[in-house]
């Protein structure tokens, strides 16, 4: 007989074990899906998860995809840990990219070491501006940040669309929906010859370290945490709770904006219609899979990045649509939420007595 018993307190070990369990269950379920589709499950999973990162180029691609995921998820962890449900990182990424792309275009045909920092800063500011909208509406007008931040994603994509088709489109571009190429001074340097991995990865690593420090070691981080759990408690303790909410949104927006900068000033070097394959949404999964902890997020971003690559190889070698990648992302989140049940309950196997 199986019996479910409540735990006296959530288990620390289980807290780190459930993400692993979720990934395992995703693989099992994924194998099953491949089997039903008529593929050999192990071979298909190999194409999906091993082949794409088996060589140097593949590994570079993995880091390339993991960088924005990690960066955004770090920013989101500030929001989520303080109970602010910013799910519009995709919009903040897009708007950050628009602002930094606009600045990069201003310096078109110019060279100088000062250009790249300005472009990066512009991206962060763009993301912050865009994140401040749901934050201010939430704190001063009691709107729901989930709805506002989500809706703004579509607004930002339409703005981008308008710009690359209209005023910012490349005059010599035969009406393709894209801008001019940025000058080399506005691009993040590539790290290795022939590989696409670029200096954006350092931004992500810096974000990991800074976020860990701020959240776990500073008074500011403590106040953010308290304000997130309860504005009433924050007020009672004497913190400025509303400012804390706005601050976490700004941090999260800045990170997403930086991810946007990385996307357009990295290998691509221009603004175009589809600058992000929904990194902003996928990063939500990364943040939770990484348990909102900086180190966890690093691992989670690598795992989830594989699904992007695997989807592409699967499309090429197995002729299945690349949206399988999203199926896997969905399954990870699904199994993670399901296995979180184990945090609070344990399953006991009791031998039948009679």
């Amino acid at each position: 007989m199986i019996k479910i018993v409540k735990r006296d307190q959530p288990s620390r070990a289980i807290f780190f074990f459930t993400p692993v369990l979720a990934i395992f269950l995703t693989l099992v379920a994924g194998g099953l899906i491949f089997f039903i589709l008529g593929f050999k499950p192990f071979e298909a999973l190999k194409f999906f998860f091993i082949v794409p990162i088996a060589d140097k180029y593949g590994f570079s691609e993995l880091l390339l995809k993991a960088t924005p995921l990690c960066l955004i998820a770090i920013g989101l962890s500030f929001c989520f840990k303080s109970n602010n449900w910013n799910i519009g990182a995709e919009g903040q990424l897009t708007f950050g990219a628009i602002v930094s792309g606009g600045v990069a275009l201003l310096f078109y045909e110019q060279e100088g070491f000062y250009i790249l920092p300005i472009v990066i800063l512009a991206g962060a500011i763009g993301g912050m501006l865009y994140a401040s909208i749901p934050a201010i509406l939430k704190t001063y007008f009691n709107t729901n940040e989930i709805l506002v931040s989500l809706m703004l994603v579509y607004v930002s994509k339409l703005i981008l669309d308008y710009l690359v088709v209209g005023p910012w489109s490349n005059p010599e571009g035969f009406n393709f929906p894209e801008t001019r190429q940025f000058s080399d001074s506005a691009k993040l340097p590539l790290l290795f010859e022939g590989l696409r991995i670029h200096a954006g990865i350092f931004l992500a690593l810096a974000a990991v370290v800074i976020s860990w420090f701020v959240f776990y070691k500073t008074y500011l981080g403590f106040q953010m945490k308290v304000s997130g759990f309860s504005l009433k408690t924050a007020r009672y303790a004497g913190y400025k709770g509303k400012k804390m909410i706005i601050l976490v949104f700004l941090i999260s927006g800045a990170c997403a904006g930086l991810a946007g900068v990385g996307e357009i000033t990295g290998p691509i070097g221009q603004l175009h219609r589809e600058i992000s394959p929904d990194y902003g949404f996928t990063a939500i999964i990364v943040a939770f899979l990484g348990r909102l902890h900086p180190v966890g997020i690093i691992f989670a971003s690598l795992v989830v990045a594989i699904t992007y690559l695997g989807a592409e190889t699967a499309q090429i070698f197995m002729q299945i649509p690349k949206y399988t990648g999203q199926v896997f992302q969905g399954m990870i989140l699904f199994f993670l939420l399901a296995s979180d049940y184990l945090l609070f309950f344990k399953i006991k196997f009791i031998g039948s007595k009679k």
Binding site: F229, S230, Y236
Partner: protein, 496 residues
């Protein structure tokens, strides 16, 4: 006709907790039964089983020898079991009459007649055609009772009915209940207030930790014996020594006003009082009369005019809670789980919420975890918090232990004034005793207390002076010895 209700071997298990452990009880009409127990003793689960809200894992319920299958509240109604819950289930914007007919399929006219007879018979003074939101809590409760009476129930269950009532409303309720009982309705009265049990009931069943511990007749019991059964240990009675009359003024409130933009809050009008060192000022009142607003104005969550609050010869009306703490004030808000502490955070993190400059919890913007932990350990041992793990999330502390932690956190900085709001609300008798002892000790150390509470007994026990708040206004301040609970009740109802 005689009604007999039998609960036979009822067990209800939740993950990690046995709410009812093989409970068997028998009730007969003509008597009023008390079901007594602390919070979490299992009495609510038991009455929810009787009213069909919860289905037991094991056990049976018989009404006049018929085995009842209670799978929903509707089944309970059909079987003539009526229940008045602690929180009212009324539509505020509908009229009293509309509320009464809403779950009935009888004709309006015949129902109206029926309701009129009930109102006349029991002397309820209620206008059927005004919206429920205009009624007092006592009247709302009467509407709930009438709703049960329409169905001429055999059993009427009352769940903690007096928690929102004034003294006068309570005695009116008791009169009605006695009348119902004489007419043959079996009454089960759930409470943790011992005094009420002694006043009203004929028999008492005591529950503790899901188990039935005793069934006895009231005439064989007294308050102490019941309290001991409820807690499972012998309690000492606490008495406050009369305070040395000091004339050394600590805090003075002058012409304090607060006007809220929120229609659900109460405005404070022209509040004036002062508290001397070593004194406890009790502020009584029915909840929702401005207590919460008064607490916030005093704690600094709501800022007021600088000169309206004078503390230790400083004007502090415009200071934030943190700044006020530096002047040696401490605050214990009403809501333990949503305001005074954060259940999802660890014990030591909750301790850091009272950030007093000299305790050095935060240096140059960095958290000084060792200092906080050291401090937390001291609170835990000094204030008898029943745990040795300060890394535990505070949601795993019982209400009593959490309150001890909060009071401890506020007191360990040895403040001159503690302002507390319903400090023992919802706690078990043991914890209440501990908190009361602690508060008395503070006064003995020549420190002052402002005690805002809806519990009249607590106020009479602890206060040196008492005032009553009604609709945002304070009554004159009276000496506690000259006050009776009857007098407080009248003032709480708004009369002069």
């Amino acid at each position: 006709m005689n009604t007999n209700l039998k609960i036979s071997n009822v067990t209800k298990i939740y993950p990690g907790c046995v709410a009812n452990d093989n409970v068997s009880l028998e009730f007969n009409s003509g008597k009023i039964y008390a079901l007594l127990g602390e919070n979490g003793a299992g009495k609510s689960t038991l009455v929810k089983i009787l009213s069909g809200v919860i289905i037991p894992d094991e056990g049976k319920i018989y009404l006049n020898e018929n085995n009842l299958k209670l799978n929903s509240p509707l089944d309970a109604k059909k079987n003539d079991i009526g229940m008045v819950f602690q929180h009212f289930n009324l539509f505020e914007t509908l009229s009293v009459f509309e509320n009464l007919i809403i779950d009935s399929d009888e004709q309006r006219e015949s129902l109206r007649e029926k309701i009129d007879t009930i109102i006349k018979k029991y002397n309820f003074s209620i206008d059927l055609d005004i919206p429920v939101l205009n009624l007092s809590a006592g009247q709302k409760q009467k509407v709930e009772i009438i709703r049960c009476l329409i169905r001429s129930p055999k059993v009427l269950i009352m769940d903690e009915p007096t928690s929102v009532l004034t003294e006068q409303e309570t005695s009116e309720l008791f009169l009605s209940l006695k009348k119902f009982s004489e007419e043959g309705i079996l009454i089960i009265y759930i409470t943790h207030k011992l005094k009420e049990v002694m006043q009203l009931c004929d028999e008492v069943a005591v529950m503790r930790r899901g188990k039935l511990v005793s069934v006895s007749e009231i005439k064989n019991e007294n308050i102490e014996s019941l309290a001991n059964k409820m807690v499972g240990q012998n309690l000492k009675t606490i008495k406050k020594k009369k305070a040395k009359t000091s004339s050394d003024q600590l805090i003075k409130i002058t012409n304090l006003n607060f006007t809220s933009e929120d229609p659900f809050e109460t405005n404070l009008m022209d509040i004036n009082f002062s508290v001397n060192r070593g004194e406890c000022l009790g502020i009584a009142g029915i909840s929702g009369n401005g207590q919460s607003e008064l607490f916030q104005v005093l704690s600094g969550e709501i800022i007021s005019e600088k000169n309206s609050i004078e503390f230790n010869n400083n004007y502090i009306g415009d200071l934030s809670p943190q700044e006020r703490r530096e002047y040696l004030m401490a605050f214990s808000p009403e809501d333990r789980l949503e305001q005074a502490a954060i259940p999802q955070m660890k014990i030591f993190e909750n301790v850091a919420l009272n950030n007093f400059k000299s305790s050095n919890f935060f240096n140059n913007g960095l958290i000084n975890e060792n200092k906080i932990k050291e401090h937390s350990k001291k609170i835990i041992s000094d204030f008898n918090v029943n745990t040795d793990n300060i890394e535990l999330k505070s949601q795993f502390l019982s209400g009593g232990n959490l309150q001890k932690l909060i009071i401890g956190r506020e007191l360990i900085t040895s403040p001159d004034l503690l302002i507390c709001f319903n400090p023992t609300w919802g706690l078990d008798v043991g914890a209440i005793n501990y908190i009361h002892e602690t508060l008395i000790k503070i006064n003995e150390q020549n420190k002052s207390i402002i005690l805002i509470s809806t519990d009249t007994d607590e106020l009479l026990k602890l206060s040196d002076k008492i005032s009553v708040i009604h609709k945002g206004k304070l009554s004159t301040i009276m000496n506690a010895e000259e006050v009776t609970s009857e007098k407080l009740g009248i003032l709480m109802g708004g009369a002069n």
